[in-house]
Symmetry: D2
């Protein structure tokens, strides 16, 4: 792996930290864009009251000089603004694990008697650092004309109909939508569903699509199992809290059709190889084929519900209902930017691998000279 | 990663090689089991004529003494029995890429003018080495009472109904079935569909479920993005040729339901924590929770079809139809063991991480002392 | 690798950051010890004026609750106290590379026209984060009775005579010495040499020995090239700024003697295997043998000298002498703790690998049950 | 890491295997060169009788088509020709560990009662695979005008005087010398010493220098600890059996001199930056500076001696002398090619990182455009 990152920090600790190692020098990093992406993670239908308190801002502690990367690792800090409120306050031990969370598995794995450390680190709060990392990767990709975006295709049982909307439009409409869904009528139905579900003290999940447009051919490889682009994307997406399924293009849907109807024919037009369809989600044989990479992520409904669920008090051994911890009702709209971010990270890594190089100025001519889907190349 | 492997070799080269590094010493390796797993990869409905020629046998070149591992890397070779027929024979360059394969992307990435190297290495022939690796991992897991199995849940539009069949039974029925599907009536419908599709010169995909039963709590972690068990399983499964989607439990289905109906309640019975359901697929917060891990993989229909597809002759630039390369019609039954194998690899790796240790005898008492889902632990 | 860390930050940036991932839960982290180690990096004979300005203090931003690790990554920040003085001040571009530094290679590699980014990140200032990381690793090792220490064995041409001083004593004497050298008369000669060399506007290097006492047998492995303990220690030590040579035990000296005189005989005493000598530096066949691990590191004289050296002004192309950048005269005494830290990191990593486990309480009984150098084990 | 390899196999097993993953496509691999390098590992003064039996030949099982790499992993097999003699023959358990070997540490680590598995895998026989790997890396480097060579600088107490012999000449003279030492009078003294030591039933070690000529500037990095070229070279060299010390340039010698006398001044001549000396061994700030990289490796005397050494019979608990296992008397001349090989591997990896790219034809123009040590670049 050329690009790598580690995150650290807890939900109510002083700060979250991300260190992104492996960037080339000469990349102009726009802090406002990072903060705008962080804001996207904090707004949208279905957010709980928690979200109102934080206004995430990234502070860059290393790796930049004069606003440009130097090749050194980028260190970003996001302060937890309500840490001040919690500091020093003693909190009762948390001993009733919530089904679907890391509470119980974390306790058994790490030997916690108070489950708080599991909540604090396993929480989706950590995704703020992913967004900061992904935002920088996105800026790197943008230098090569590659755009990464995303949108919501379903929430609960409400599915969008996006057939007629081009990818780029889906992205731009979604950015302005509270649900993140580019289909206006579905979006309205989603909002109704979210409202009703919230009143019913229940929660919702859904499906997010992230896409990358403008990729070169040749990222990833079939030569060794762990180099396949699907594998690398899959790991990154499934590493996101509450994401439990992923497909490249409509992979599950494709299984229901015969082979001849799910392949993407190859046509020639003016010495250019054209693919009229994209059922493969932009990847063939583990390698990007120049079509948009389309990744679909299944996000489970939030496990923390206002409606109590059966659990146990680990301190006493009694069966008992879960208590409510402040949480979202529907995290799907806010998670779009997280899925985009992890996709951007994988693609930036794969692009750096393909181009090599230690500076943007070294990478640019190499990029220009990449083989294309043209006869003669 | 504690356990790692590399594979090498081409479909029509002299042999395939797998090197599996990181096994503890003292593991009895049963070559017959490996060969039985290799045989499973070669039989089942929908196999093409190619399959008849090979009878894969693993030869162990390193890492074993007296039938037991020594802690040294295990090297396994599977000879390509028809290599003799091909050796020295000159073959016309292959210049018409098949949609859905690595032919075109491989050519652009690696600069091939003859596309054969892409076919040779990207082909599912390579999965034989994965099966050998997975078979050894499975033998390691078996020492700790962990069983990994799998079955087919759908082929094309035919879906099995498995609700009433316990996991272990699904596995054992599937082993005796030509389709790998434990639901007898669905299995029959699948066979009919395969026959019809073959006659129609078309191909089929489907969905495979792999499960691991008897896992301890605590494999994987939420502490860093790349340690989550879902991420690691996802990468391994999506690294398999033709697998383009993966979910842990019924993740895509879960997105359509409200939170309260897709969680797995925690009950107490005789100081034991019981989970009456398993919608989470055995993983909570990135960590195994002791329930069976259930992984669903979407396999696309074979891209090589007897029905020609639109393509181009890269040597001449003319639009032209694909020519048929010997291939399967429905690879799904044969891929079950491959999916199982990659799951077994990830779980063996995670178990070694949890237990540490350099020999089975060092690992065993550690395993006995692991915390369980019991009050007081 | 079980344990991993990334550092970030520049010498005159706001802060240095280290993220240490892979610690077990339940480790009490003593911040005072970390700060004491940081102080050791800042004091000793031969320090330049720069050292007076900083008083490094680590702040922990993540991974601790109630003073104990949780299994989550530990994030540590060390603020650069004089950053305030530099912030916003415009500095002339630095264009005259200093021989022996990263100035010129960094410029060519990353395309800098102003060489400051190379100075900022390549500088030994970064070793403060290594010390913080190593200090935590040392605390982990201490839980298993393993002590890591170090001392200076030579500065310039002055060599200590340590034959008669036991290892543990060498460490404790060195801690109280300005030169870090446990031989009092050599220490005095070193101080004289440092004083003279400073007056002569020159600089000094030397040799540091780091030792680990109380290690179990069995860390590292011969089974694969990159697992040998020598290799892992070698990489860690040679990753330290200005360290260009490393040996395990007196390896270069050993090459001059016949085989029979440099082996460590095996004796039996009361069912215990005893090794009367330790010419192998505590490692045989890539694996720790229970004797103290002894690592010797060659540190080159500081490249920045008050005496000007021939260089070139890259902006103008003129040959020109180097200008002085504030620097040490003899960094050797202050580097002892850095060498110790990197050794502690590798050994903590190898110990975690051997023991596995997610918490100290899981690791402890496993440690007790490790095989020893006893007959019957 | 872009390039990676795993080896497998035991000294008396059927074969040794190396899998080298990450090569670009289009590299012509010359099997004769590999075999010539393998032969160099088998000849030279001081070899024991064992060497006469084997004539190592590499067989390539994967990764080549038409004699050129395809981008797929290269699998190489070296058969153990005397395996046939050993197969099926029952051998008494080996229970008397030899000091200096992996016998005892391996037994404690892996729980062997018969120590043979340690001998079999820890033995220097494994270095044959390193040589095969290194030979291919060397061929890759040669495409970019980079030459890797080596020679012996000392054996026992006999040191060569090489000051007046240019690097390239040292390499070519050494290739024709039985001792691998380019200084004829030292070489003669070495031969005498080897003869005498063999008669005295003792063994010898020595120092090997490996050099790489023609490297571009910019391999390795100071931006993260594990990227420094010294660290990566150090790990590779110290991973070689019996190598216990390594230095970049004369690092230990440099510690004895003041800073001004061990730096390499920068001069300008015709817009070219010139370095009249190379005390830094070709690396500054963790990055190659275009001068030859010079690596010195300390090889300990062979631990297996005809003269018995004190040990213990682990089966009985009795103190007992070691028994002789067939071995070399002085492995130093034969190890030159092993040290070269590991250096070639690291440099090929670092070059691939710098250039990126999936084929030689993609890499070549990138190489031409690298910045050089020229003003204006």
């Amino acid at each position: 792996m050329t690009l790598r990152f580690l995150t650290a920090g807890e939900s109510h600790g002083p700060a979250l930290i991300a260190t992104l190692d492996g960037l080339p020098s000469g990349l102009k990093v726009d802090l406002d864009s990072i903060n705008a992406d962080l804001a996207r993670r904090q707004s949208g239908s279905g957010a709980g009251p928690r979200m109102k308190m934080e206004q995430d801002r990234a502070v860059i502690l290393g790796g930049l000089m004069g606003g440009h990367t130097t090749g050194a690792p980028l260190a970003m800090m996001i302060e937890n603004r309500d840490h001040a409120h919690w500091k020093g306050i003693s909190v009762d031990p948390f001993t009733i694990p919530r089904p679907g969370h890391a509470d119980l598995t974390g306790a058994v794995k790490f030997g916690y008697s108070d489950l708080r450390p599991a909540l604090e680190r396993a929480s989706a709060r950590e995704t703020a650092t992913r967004v900061a990392v992904g935002s920088v990767c996105r800026q790197l990709l943008a230098n090569f004309g590659i755009e990464v975006g995303g949108y919501v295709t379903s929430i609960g049982s409400v599915e969008a109909n996006l057939q007629s909307i081009p990818l780029q439009e889906r992205i731009s409409i979604a950015r302005k939508s509270d649900t993140g869904c580019p289909d206006p009528s579905a979006s309205q139905a989603m909002q109704t569903l979210i409202r009703e579900t919230t009143l019913a003290k229940d929660t919702l999940g859904g499906i997010i699509e992230a896409v990358a447009i403008g990729l070169p051919v040749g990222l990833g490889s079939f030569t060794q199992w762990d180099k396949r682009l699907e594998a690398r994307i899959g790991a990154a997406i499934l590493s996101i809290q509450a994401i439990k399924g992923v497909e490249i293009g409509p992979a599950f849907e494709n299984t229901r059709h015969p082979g001849t109807s799910v392949q993407d024919a190859i046509h020639v037009e003016n010495s250019q190889l054209i693919r009229p369809s994209n059922r493969c989600g932009g990847i063939e044989g583990g390698i990007s084929n120049g079509l948009p990479v389309i990744v679909r992520a299944a996000m489970k409904p939030i496990a923390t519900t206002l409606t109590p669920q059966s659990s146990v008090n680990l301190a006493t051994g009694e069966g008992i209902d879960t208590r409510y911890e402040r949480s979202d009702f529907c995290p799907v709209p806010r998670a779009v930017v997280v899925v985009e971010s992890m996709l951007a990270f994988v693609l930036a890594d794969a692009l750096l691998e393909k181009l090599g190089g230690d500076s943007l100025s070294e990478m640019r001519p190499r990029y220009e000279n990449l083989k294309k889907m043209r006869l003669g190349d």
